[in-house]
Amino acid sequence: MKNTRKLLAIATIGATLISMAACGGGSKGGDSSADSGELSVAWWGNQDRNARQAKVNKAFEEANKGVKVKGSFFEWNDYWKKLSTQVAGKQMPDVVAMDYSYLQQYVENGQLQALDDYISDGTIKTKGIDKNVLNSGKMNGKTYALSLGSSSPALIYNKKVLDQAGLTMPKSMTLDEFEKMSKTIYEKTGYKTNFRYYEASELLEYVLRGEGKTLFKSKKLGVDAADLKPYFKVYQDGIDQGWHLGPDVFTEIQTGSVEQDPLVYGNDPGRRSWVSMKFTSQLTALQKVNKDADLELAPWPSSNLKKANYVKPGMFFSISKSCKNPKLAAKYIDFYTNNEKAVKAMLTDRGLPIASESLKAITPMLSPEEKKVITFMNDVVIPQSSAINPPSPASAATVNTQTLPQIEEALLYRKINAEGAAKQFEDEANSSLSR
């Protein structure tokens, strides 16, 4: 009894000390990580991209002895949740992948370091990079992000299904023509259509651009219900005439994930889509999921291709405010952009490499899909496009993740019609934007 009690007391004190020591040790480790040459890098992506990025990280470690790259990746949705909590916990990774739609928010809140010093002292070499591409990462006169490649909106379709239906893809099409095509395909092959259900508003924005209108102004919408109706009408017609995928299909998959996109995932044509409204950078990953599908690219439907189409400065890399060794981080970004090994590992996964030398280096080793992307960008998009809209305001997140998907959902469940949907979208979006 005597001994047990004594032992217990000692054990408790010991445990306390150990746990306190562990706490101390942990935080110390965090501080010294940057000095000892550890670099944390975070990005969003799919299986394919993660494998490629891991190769880049390894090559960077080999080129810089003593440096350890700690990569972490998430799917698009989870990435932004994780990143925001890391910011709150002052644990933001050193190098973070940034998107055009979030850039403004992160810069305004002072979470990113400007890259200008590292560009002028040559750590990040910008030789052979187009001025427009460099400017796309600029805000308030400073460069906060370097584009990793350019891409553009692309209607990715399964050519096998089109052949089966006896159709060919035109150079461009209007919403009406798109509807007609979807209907024919459904009647002839049984394959249905996924317009861009439950995803962000890029397609809506694109359709409106074709009409010469802008979806998001700073505190309100730049359009009214009448402008919005044609977009919602596609869903209504699709579900009424039976050629749009039912909403139940989407309850069984992870919406927005490339791996479970109805274009490539599933067996029953009645639960598959012949088309997916994505970006050129997703072609390779989509094709990898399903080798049977014969995927091709075309522009999204709109009434005026030149007005609607745009080149998107793909993703960006930025250096976080909390990065302790920004020089090393800048080196990493440069390595990603200009090093031959890195460029060859990534190929066109994040769009075409921005440095002309890098693009030259990879051209001979491109896969058929990547060649398709280059041809599409060069022959279709670049000659027939106009400048991208300014980054959307932060409050657009509510519109993109809540308002739009839920109205589309109500449409497919036949709770409202296109007219009601347009009106509801106008009201709710304006109220969120003014918040």
Binding site: T12, A88, D248
Partner: protein, 323 residues
């Protein structure tokens, strides 16, 4: 069995003997540490430290955030009661998710308890393999909240999933999308919750064993059959356990997250949108962390009221040994 300790009513334990044990003292420090007060403080220090750092401070911070517009990546901006006003007057999803959550908790908890009690009664009999069954039935409550099971559940209830295939064996051929239908989707989550009956079952089992066998003997001498023995003896004596399970399990129900987040994400049409998932989305998807914090505090308050009301009803139906 260690679990029995949790259900024994207080009062039965003899007071521990006064500490007559004397330590041989080796020095001032040891003598100081061995003072009862000091030892108490030292021994509870890790807990107090953790409680302050990981509970009280975050709690206070989150209460402060409820009065701010806080987007996580910037600095919070004080806006007074705006978050609360918005919640009660302008946010239909608040009411929707609240309704779904209460429906889920208030349906799944009683179902789970009934199920747990039935299985416990079956497993009460001691046989060679009853131990195995107890472990086997407990398993779902460890696994049930996990991501893997949630994904499995999603596959099972898919239009071409196991559930429809199993129905096919009984001649019901259907492609019914359980998760895609506005009325059936929530039930897939309720079934998942009921399936996790293991921990309530173990607690029932333990307290069933506590019921003195003399009572049953006396009852059977008086000619009571098994049925009335159950209603007149077993159930009344179980009420304290039922009460405990009811409180704990419905709180779990109100705070359910994984099932909705992985399986349905609120689809279809927000009919499965759990309050916690809505709070999470507001905070981390739409970066309205101040509003999210306010949602959390409202839920805390509601759970407090709910538990309080349950405790008030206690004296009407819960058996009290001391009374």
């Amino acid at each position: 069995m260690a679990i029995q300790a949790t259900v024994t009513q207080s009062g039965g334990m003899p007071n521990p003997p006064q500490s007559g044990v004397k330590f041989r003292s080796h020095g001032r420090l040891i003598r100081f540490l061995q003072k009862e007060k000091v030892a108490g403080v030292v021994c509870s220090a890790p807990f107090i430290f953790g409680f302050l750092m990981f509970l009280v401070v975050p709690l206070a911070l989150s209460l402060y955030y409820t009065f701010t517009d806080y987007n996580i990546i910037g600095e919070p901006r004080f806006i007074g009661l705006d978050n609360y006003i918005r919640m009660f007057t302008k946010d239909p999803l608040f009411w929707q998710s609240l309704g779904v959550t209460f429906f889920f908790a208030l349906i799944s908890t009683p179902l789970r308890l009934i199920f747990a009690l039935l299985v416990a009664l079956l497993l009460l009999r001691n046989s060679k393999i009853s131990g195995f069954y107890r472990a086997a039935f407990y398993l779902p409550s460890i696994l049930g909240g996990s991501v893997a099971v949630a994904i499995l559940w999603k596959q099972m209830f898919a239009a071409d999933g196991v559930v429809n295939k199993a129905l096919g064996l009984f001649g019901i051929h259907t492609q019914f999308a359980w998760l895609g239908n506005e009325s059936s989707a929530i039930w897939t989550l309720i079934i998942l919750a009921v399936w996790q009956f293991g921990s309530s079952m173990l607690i029932f089992l333990a307290s069933l064993k506590q019921i003195p066998s003399e009572l049953y003997e006396a009852a059977s001498v008086d000619g009571a059959n098994k049925w009335s023995q159950f209603w007149k003896i077993t159930l009344p004596l179980l009420t304290p356990t039922i009460f405990f399970n009811l409180v704990m399990q419905s709180i779990n129900g109100f705070l359910a997250f994984t099932q909705c987040y992985i399986i349905t994400q609120g689809k279809p049409r927000n009919t499965t949108l759990f309050f916690m998932v809505y709070m999470y989305d507001e905070s981390f998807t739409r970066y309205h962390a101040g509003y999210g914090a306010a949602l959390a505090w409202v839920m805390l308050l509601l759970i407090g009221i709910y538990t309080g009301v349950l405790f008030l009803t206690k004296r009407f139906w819960v058996y009290d040994e001391e009374a």
